[in-house]
Subunit: 283 residues, 2 copies
Amino acid sequence: MIVTDSEKTISTLCSSWRAEGLGVGLVPTMGALHQGHLSLVKTAVACVDRVVVSIFVNPTQFAAGEDLDRYPRTLEQDCEQVEKAGASAVFTPAPVTVYPKGFSSEVRVSGITEGLCGVYRPGHFNGVTTVCSVLFGIVRPEVAVFGMKDAQQLAVVRRMVDDLRMGVEIVAAPIVRESDGVAMSSRNRYLSATERKQAALIHKGLKKAASLCRRGENSCAVLRQAFLQTVSSGSELRVQYAETVDPDTLLSVEAVEKTVLLAVAVFAGKTRLIDNVLIKPEV
Amino acid sequence: MIVTDSEKTISTLCSSWRAEGLGVGLVPTMGALHQGHLSLVKTAVACVDRVVVSIFVNPTQFAAGEDLDRYPRTLEQDCEQVEKAGASAVFTPAPVTVYPKGFSSEVRVSGITEGLCGVYRPGHFNGVTTVCSVLFGIVRPEVAVFGMKDAQQLAVVRRMVDDLRMGVEIVAAPIVRESDGVAMSSRNRYLSATERKQAALIHKGLKKAASLCRRGENSCAVLRQAFLQTVSSGSELRVQYAETVDPDTLLSVEAVEKTVLLAVAVFAGKTRLIDNVLIKPEV
């Protein structure tokens, strides 16, 4: 497996693969990889011939006061793990490589970026769409894999790729969870023992809402309430939002008539965790 | 030559050309074609195997109160002319094709878009960069040709393509002029006889500035003054701006030490005309 911080090296490598008729896939990450990321890599490996994993803690997607400086960096372990998962290359560019002197372009998606996390993380999705555009430009993947934990990111990237005809197929991979249901996240390592334990209530609340729906409840207000009630028993937890939306448009939904995304952001102490569940109507 | 308003048709056609190993070029236009546009097509034909001309009066690049509604449309003649010039296809999408329902992405370039025309045409360059991104995505050209008359547009598109690694080579084609020096423009047809006659003073003023520099004058203030003085003799002319800038960064320049762009916008009656000249230092 090739590990490089050079744009030239990775773009030449990907061009040569394409010239050989090999399909190239990209898994964009910020490193500090866990089983969730590795499942993205495995999904990509199943789709295409050569998988590039980018590891880049993108400064432009952190809002002021967020955890850019303390975001975990574990490059050596990351490389070992993605090699085992079947990646062919890791691209670890420096910020000045991604954003050279004079860089002044931005890709913005409006509407779909404005609710959910967009309310609380100003500029975050502009950072995500811009860095994805750059990475797609460098790697020119036919497939890129994103995790469903970041449901809004997934919807936003899909919107961008469709709008700007980027010609990249966006594949969604399911959320991977710890044994107690906590969604895998690089930020879980910030949690104290108590916070980590209580974090399991988030998935418990999501499951509770889904199970109510399976038993015939289709009022989104009731489902949200079930989530909030479950999480309220965690003394270290504070819900930032819990919303029911259409999974593609992210527009608010008040009754489960087709599949609804219940998306939540919850602080466990000072650590912000996001999670979600797709709730399908009873048929 | 194929003429189509279908995205599917043009993208499939371009894919099939690429699959045959043929190089594809794009000349994006708003129609109402003149010799200036045809020189772009000929430049493209000299660079690549197959040239697509897009004809699309892009609503998002017109600011409020501009001439979107009365912008000239001459599709039939346009097609005849570009076929003669060697184009292989004309893509004439409807607005809803370029911007389907739900479209919500935008490509923005900051800095370089803020001076010159950017001051007077709010949102114009966002419209240009977004539509170019879409057209590049549909056609996937290896080369796209732009005219040097729209010097700021050229610099902005180059910045975008570099920043977002679009992998399109941007080729600049020189300004084509009428016999009296007036730069070819689709908007020249708006001019009254008097305005048309006086419009020649614009190029005369630009030439005057360039010739002063050849004779050793390197103060941009003096060169601008020479331009303004020449144009001031036209009773129907009103200068909107006349600025000396670096041709790549569009930053203001006060002395001709390397090549300087003298870029101007002048109203002839109600019609806004732009023009420019590259002024090189005496060596």
